[in-house]
């Protein structure tokens, strides 16, 4: 019996150390679960570089970062995509990346290049906003809220659902937006007012959007949900019967949206550095950036990229999104979440 186990283990060990074939190299890219790309786009890269690209999907951004940190001594992949600005400082401080000054960075707007050491390079961004159900507001003759303070008004009592920042990325984003707007000392007061005004909190985006939100197919009770500014486009593109007007829209007041930026980086210790660099360039290049909106429903960082029609028509981003520096977020995140829990949940 022992011998069989030993034999099996040896086989697995050996297969892990198989000599590299003289054929195409394999590049491994670790991403979060929301990553998506058109097969032809990836195939173009593979053909151009005589390479094979394998993707490892690793849960949400937090789980993925954990995986990368835990395995950093013998990295599971060559490239890591999906760390966002709320996790950026943690990721860089954990020293999982190798810096790479990609030539593409020259054309990408400075506001997205949050990592000066060029370890994490920006790929896409989107805004977490409050999405509202147009039909509900129309039928009830309610004015649409224009700013954060409006949400505490009694005419909107019980009409907003948000997610727990401890378990949900959009939930955290919205919390950060309020912190940016009201400041470290006053945001708790705001949330207490929200709570008084019948705020509904759930743990995950799926529950909020598909169960609580009235504007989606779940037909829930809340006509306002903390979600993504690109949802209006998604609702049109994924409608059961073709529609010409989105049933939902975003509230785009000052600091009502929080900008999330997602980054890619080459993992420290990779043995395919050259190929990894090419892949990063590829991700920051025209073809991939143009593919992003239709697949992941986020905006490309590269300027002058042609966006799909539906996107242009329906997706919304804020002109004044709330932004917080990544290291500030990293330093205070736990404390903020704890304070929020105490104020809202207990």
């Amino acid at each position: 019996m022992k011998r069989i186990i030993f034999l099996l283990l040896s086989i697995f060990l050996l297969s892990g150390c198989s000599p590299k074939p003289s054929g195409p190299q394999t590049l491994t890219v670790m991403t979060h679960d929301s990553f998506a790309v058109t097969d032809t786009v990836v195939q173009a890269f593979e053909q151009a570089n005589n390479a094979k690209v394998t993707f490892i999907k690793s849960g949400d951004a937090g789980a993925m970062l954990n995986k990368a940190i835990l395995s950093k001594d013998s990295p599971l992949a060559d490239v890591l995509y999906g760390v966002d600005n709320t996790f950026l400082s943690r990721a860089v401080a954990a020293d999982i990346y190798e810096p790479y000054d990609s030539p593409a960075l020259k054309i990408i707007p400075v506001e997205y290049q949050l990592d000066a050491t060029k370890r994490a390079l920006p790929v896409d961004y989107s805004d977490v906003c409050i999405i509202y159900d147009k039909a509900y507001f129309a039928t009830h003759n309610l004015p649409i809220p224009q700013k954060l303070d409006d949400l505490t008004s009694s005419q909107y009592k019980g009409l907003l659902v948000t997610e727990n920042p401890a378990t949900s990325s959009p939930g955290l984003a919205f919390l950060l937006a309020t912190i940016k707007h009201f400041g470290d000392s006053d945001y708790i007061g705001y949330w207490k007012d929200l709570r008084q005004n019948g705020l509904v909190v759930v743990d995950g985006w799926e529950t909020a959007y598909y169960t609580n939100f009235s504007g989606s197919t779940g037909k829930g009770q809340q006509p306002m949900v903390v979600s993504y500014g690109t949802d209006p486009a998604a609702e049109v593109m994924f409608a059961t019967t073709p529609i010409s007007d989105s049933p939902v829209a975003s509230i785009l007041g000052p600091d009502t949206c929080f900008r999330q930026i997602e980054f890619v980086g080459i993992l420290k210790g990779t043995v395919h550095r050259a190929l990894a660099e090419k892949f990063v360039d590829f991700m920051l290049g025209q073809k991939f950036q143009a593919d992003i909106p239709g697949q992941m429903f986020v905006y490309p960082v590269l300027p002058n990229v042609t966006l799909p029609d539906a996107f242009v028509k329906y997706a919304q981003k804020a002109s004044q999104p709330a932004v917080l520096a990544p290291d500030v977020i990293a330093a205070n995140r736990d404390a903020w979440i704890q304070a929020w829990s105490d104020a809202v949940l207990k």
Partner: protein
């Protein structure tokens, strides 16, 4: 008379092969080797590596200990409540299936197993459709009583958590206790009645004591599942509730606060060990040889008025509890799901097969598109591997446990631990310990087996322990070789238990989500993962496809269970 006893004792020794095999400790070590090494390599090693990595003096700071204490209290509290409720519904249901025959019995019994393997996301959707603020019950009540707002709060309450737990776990009680119940000799009850015991006293003095070991096994499994509950708490309980597992998830994966996560994981492990030891102590004392019947001759159509009331009542309860919430899914998968358009046009309602069609179209050309047939095939492949692996590992362990000695008393609790340990922690431990091998497909059934193994053992062991030597002795005295003895005496009785064990392993694997999402390659998704992917983007098409996949999963599971149950040799019995 003394002469006879001696003679029979000698025969008994030869006939009692579990005792013979386990008499020698070398043999027992062999029996234990396979399952134990599996556990050591795939559970203890990664788990303790991650604990060692994360634990620091930080962990023991007072605020952390306080947090841990609070969370622990709630976790135990809701688990105890859920277990009691599950038993309250599960016991009569087990009795219903074990004793009565009625139309649609096989189907209903298969359907009660379906919730067990549905991803929580899907269950939450089903319950919401039934009991949510705009669910059928509330809408119905609002109309009937002309109410302004939905009278029954559901999501975000403790009741939601409890109800969902009962929904998930009742099948464990039905299967394990029902198995034992249908194996009871009806003559025992007849004897009791002739001695003056009315139905209540028969139940209390004869039936229940004989069910003790299966009741304990079922209760422990249910409790551990409730103890480690994660998805239900998140999706139906909401942010106001946190069990240990949820808190570990938040601390580790969202706050990246490893020391606190390690503390919580460690506490969870200790608690599981404590429960397992307690269970182990109680259960070895209640193993009773009760000559289980391979046949289901106990089963009859309900005749007396009381019986018919019971059967009808239980059927109504089971259907409304188990079937209704799940009806929402197939219904939604074929109804047009459009968002309200208000003044912009009327919403079209009606039936459609669009979502099923859409499943087969890769509209986006996404590289990660997997045709549903392949997702189903992946799911079934993993499930099959899990069944084989867990039976292979479970039999020797169950055999060793059938005649427990001191070694077993120590090892037994260890087998239960993976069931109560933090899945998130284990997942992280896998990354740390096995890094590169994470993308090998066979890791997935291995992870599934870790969860399924305790079920398999708990189901096989009472069966193995309860075959009385007398039956084997009779076969031997008729000239049967040991193999024939096993084939004609043990196997018919074991077959039922094996089928139950295989069914458990099958459904656990089909519905497993947490470990799978951590370990699987994106090109080998299982159906639960596919469902989850659809639900992480807005849009009617996405939601509809999620519902369609969920319906497919339900259909696949039901078919699988029915198939397993049909695979019975004649004479193997009803349950």
């Amino acid at each position: 008379m003394a002469g006879f006893t001696q003679h029979e004792d000698r025969r008994t020794q030869n006939a009692d092969y579990p005792a013979a095999i386990t008499a020698s400790w070398v043999n027992r070590l062999f029996l234990w080797f396979l399952p134990l090494s599996f556990l050591v390599v795939f559970f203890f090693y990664p788990f303790f590596r991650i604990l060692a990595y994360s634990f620091s003096i930080e962990s023991l700071k007072l605020p952390n200990l306080q947090l841990a204490f609070h969370v622990l209290i709630f976790t135990v509290y809701q688990a105890v409540l859920s277990t009691i409720l599950t038993l309250l519904i599960g016991l009569p249901a087990a009795y219903l299936f074990a004793r009565f025959d009625f139309r649609g019995k096989t189907l209903l019994r298969a359907l009660t197993l379906v919730p067990f393997m549905l991803p929580t996301v899907v269950v939450a959707a089903g319950f919401n459709a039934l009991l949510g603020p705009r669910g059928w019950v509330n809408l119905g009540l609002m109309q009937a009583l002309a109410l302004e707002s939905p009278p029954i709060p559901f999501v975000g309450t403790l009741s939601a958590i409890l109800i969902a737990h009962v929904f998930y776990n009742t099948t464990i009680v039905i299967r394990i206790v029902g198995n034992a119940l249908s194996g009871l000799d009806p003559k025992l009850e007849q004897a009791a009645r002739s001695l003056g015991a009315d139905s209540r006293r028969v139940w209390w003095n004869v039936t229940l004591p004989l069910l003790r070991s299966s009741l304990l096994a079922a209760s422990l499994l249910v409790f551990l599942f409730d103890f480690t509950s994660f998805g239900v708490i998140l999706l139906l309980g909401g942010p106001a509730f946190a069990t240990l597992e949820v808190e570990i998830y938040i601390q580790a994966l969202q706050l990246l606060n490893f020391p606190v996560a390690a503390l919580l994981a460690f506490i969870q492990l200790l608690c599981t060990l404590a429960f397992a030891i307690i269970y182990s102590r109680i259960s070895t004392r209640s193993n009773v040889q009760s000559a289980p019947r391979a046949g289901g001759s106990n089963i009859r159509k309900p005749k007396a008025r009381l019986e018919r009331v019971f059967v009808t009542g239980m059927l109504m309860l089971l259907i409304s509890f188990f079937i209704l919430p799940m009806l929402a899914l197939p219904l939604r998968s074929v109804s047009r799901l459009d968002a309200d358009r208000g003044q912009h046009g009327t919403v079209r309602v009606g039936l459609t097969a669009d979502y099923y069609d859409e499943l087969f179209i890769n509209r986006n050309g996404s590289i990660f598109y997997v045709p549903p047939v392949q997702a189903a095939a992946n799911s079934l492949g993993y499930a099959g591997a899990t069944v084989l692996l867990s039976l292979l590992l479970g039999f020797p362990a169950a055999l060793a446990l059938a005649k427990p000695r001191r070694l077993e008393r120590i090892l037994d609790p260890i087998l239960i631990i993976p069931l109560g340990a933090s899945a998130v922690t284990l997942g992280l431990g896998f990354i740390l310990a096995f890094g590169h091998w994470l993308t090998y497909p066979w890791l997935v059934p291995l992870a599934h087996t870790l969860v399924a193994l305790p079920f398999v053992i708990r189901t096989l062991q009472p069966a193995l322990a309860s075959i009385p030597d007398r039956l084997r002795q009779a076969a031997i005295s008729l000239g049967a070789s040991p193999f024939r003895v096993w084939q004609t005496v043990d196997w018919p009785i074991l077959q039922r238990a094996t089928l139950t064990a295989a069914t458990f392993a099958f459904t656990i694997s089909l519905g497993e989500f947490g470990a799978t999402i951590l370990l699987s390659r994106p090109d080998y998704p299982t159906i639960p993962i596919a469902i989850y992917r659809f639900l992480s983007q807005p849009g009617g098409l996405n939601y509809g496809q999620a519902m369609a996949m969920a319906t497919l999963l339900m259909a696949l599971t039901t078919a699988g269970i029915l198939l397993i149950e049909k695979l019975r040799l004649p004479g193997a019995g009803e349950f």
